[in-house]
């Protein structure tokens, strides 16, 4: 897996994770990710990821009309999304463990 795929995969996991417990609309998801510490994540990246996950059938969406502000398009995770999230979490865990291992060895060697 090359680096850009890893980053993309992580963004998938992060986006799915923030809508796992509560449905969210696009900008809401951006804010949740930023609040969780991913301050540098681009708006377009989040919107693009939502779009792709939706196209891939990992998210469903529904529109909530609003009398005052703009109407909002909410995204909700579905079973497919949950399985993608689970796979992604495992991949990340394995990767993180591997990197931890590498760092641990180099620290001992030093």
């Amino acid at each position: 897996m090359d680096a850009s795929q890893l980053v993309k995969g992580l963004l998938d996991v992060a986006v799915l994770a923030v809508v796992r417990d509560e449905d969210g609309y696009g900008y809401d998801v951006v804010r949740r990710l930023r609040a969780a510490g991913l301050e540098d994540v681009g708006d377009a990246s989040v919107y693009g990821t939502l779009r792709r996950l939706y196209s891939a059938g990992a998210l469903t969406s529904y529109v909530v009309p609003s009398d005052e502000g703009p109407h909002r398009k909410y995204y909700a995770i579905n079973d497919r999304g949950r399985s993608v999230l689970e796979d992604g979490s495992k991949t990340w865990r394995a990767f993180a463990d591997t990197v931890d291992g590498v760092l641990g060895i180099s620290r001992v060697a030093a």
Binding site: Q5, L11, Y25, G26, A44, Y47, G48, R52, A56, G57
Partner: protein, 339 residues
């Protein structure tokens, strides 16, 4: 208070991003833009004083990032980034998420827009090259067409046309502009296809192909007369006009002189060479004039049996012999000494 300006700014931003996504399929584009409109509206509610450019980056950057994240091909046919994106998209889709039936169709639809930049470049080249290729003027117009007799000018014209064509392709055009460009595209394509269709005939009429058929006088013969092509026989005469037989000819280095073999005869009868043979039985091909005898199988050039009376004796060509001075004057001295 900032509401109207934000709207104008948002409209402009939306329009700019839309033009950056112009190559995407209409339904894909409209959904992305719908999301962006909601996004901009949500930002407007945020009460942030910064411009959209400051918050989101330039429309071009936004569109590029959106494409990347959404797994869509980049605007320019940037192979490397797209390859990874396509692979990631495919991986996600292959988990059974895509509707199998429409997947191929979608792949093609997402692939076609990538060909557009290639067409823009090709179009620029064709606009200059096709008229030159159609017009036969003795210049070699492929791959670089000659313009005003110069390949340099032609090449510069191609570069200019390609630049204009690409600019035209990247521009957002009004509806009638799109129609005009489409008509132009069809004309260029039609002319190019017509050229390709007629090209074999065109090539035949301008290019001599040397094919190495065995026994071909053009290939086998080292002797070629400037105006008439291959030499297939040599007729030798004495000064007083007597035709010589069985003359052995050698070149300046003492090598036997070879000529090509004649394949075609006016009476269409097939003939074979019948060189004289030395005492040990080996043929002597450098004995001139070469003797051709009728094919023992009695076939015509096309391979059918000859009809009685078809084959005629080979006529000797008429030769114009110079008239020399009488032997008395000739032996007096060297000709130059008289002057």
């Amino acid at each position: 208070m900032t509401a109207p300006t934000t709207t104008v700014e948002a409209q402009g931003y939306l329009g700019d991003v839309e033009s950056e996504l112009a190559d995407l399929p209409a339904d894909e584009r409209s959904e992305l833009l719908e999301d962006l409109a909601l996004h901009l509206a949500a930002l407007a509610e945020d009460g942030d004083d910064r411009t959209l450019g400051a918050r989101l980056g330039s429309p071009a950057d936004y569109a590029a990032e959106l494409r990347l994240a959404a797994g869509l091909p980049p605007r320019s046919a940037d192979g490397a980034a797209h390859g990874r994106l396509a692979a990631a998209t495919r991986a996600l889709r292959s988990k059974g998420t895509a509707v199998a039936g429409s997947r191929g169709v979608r792949e093609i639809r997402s692939f076609l827009p990538q060909l557009r930049p290639a067409w823009w470049v090709l179009r620029g080249y064709l606009v200059v090259a096709v008229p030159r290729l159609r017009h036969v003027d003795g210049y070699d117009d492929f791959p670089v067409p000659a313009l005003l007799g110069s390949h340099l000018v032609g090449g510069a014209a191609v570069v200019l046309a390609v630049v204009v064509s690409v600019m035209l392709g990247r521009r957002r055009l009004p509806r009638f502009g799109i129609a005009a460009v489409l008509v132009l595209d069809l004309l260029v394509l039609g002319a190019a296809l017509d050229l390709v269709r007629s090209q074999p005939a065109r090539l035949r009429s301008h290019t001599v192909y040397v094919t190495a058929n065995p026994g071909d006088p053009f290939v086998d013969s080292p002797l070629i007369t400037e105006a008439h092509g291959a030499v297939t026989n040599i007729l030798a005469f004495t000064a007083d006009g007597k035709a010589l037989q069985d003359v052995l000819l050698f070149d300046q280095d003492g090598r036997p002189l070879a000529t090509g073999q004649q394949h075609w005869f006016a009476d269409h009868c097939r003939r074979v060479l019948s060189p004289p043979r030395a005492a040990d039985g080996t043929p002597v091909p450098f004995s001139y004039p070469k003797q051709y005898v009728l094919d023992p199988e009695g076939k015509t050039l096309s391979g059918s049996p000859v009809t009685p009376g078809q084959c005629l004796p080979l006529p000797l060509p008429k030769v114009a012999l110079p008239v020399f001075p009488k032997p008395a004057a000739q032996t007096a001295a060297k000709p130059a000494a008289h002057r």
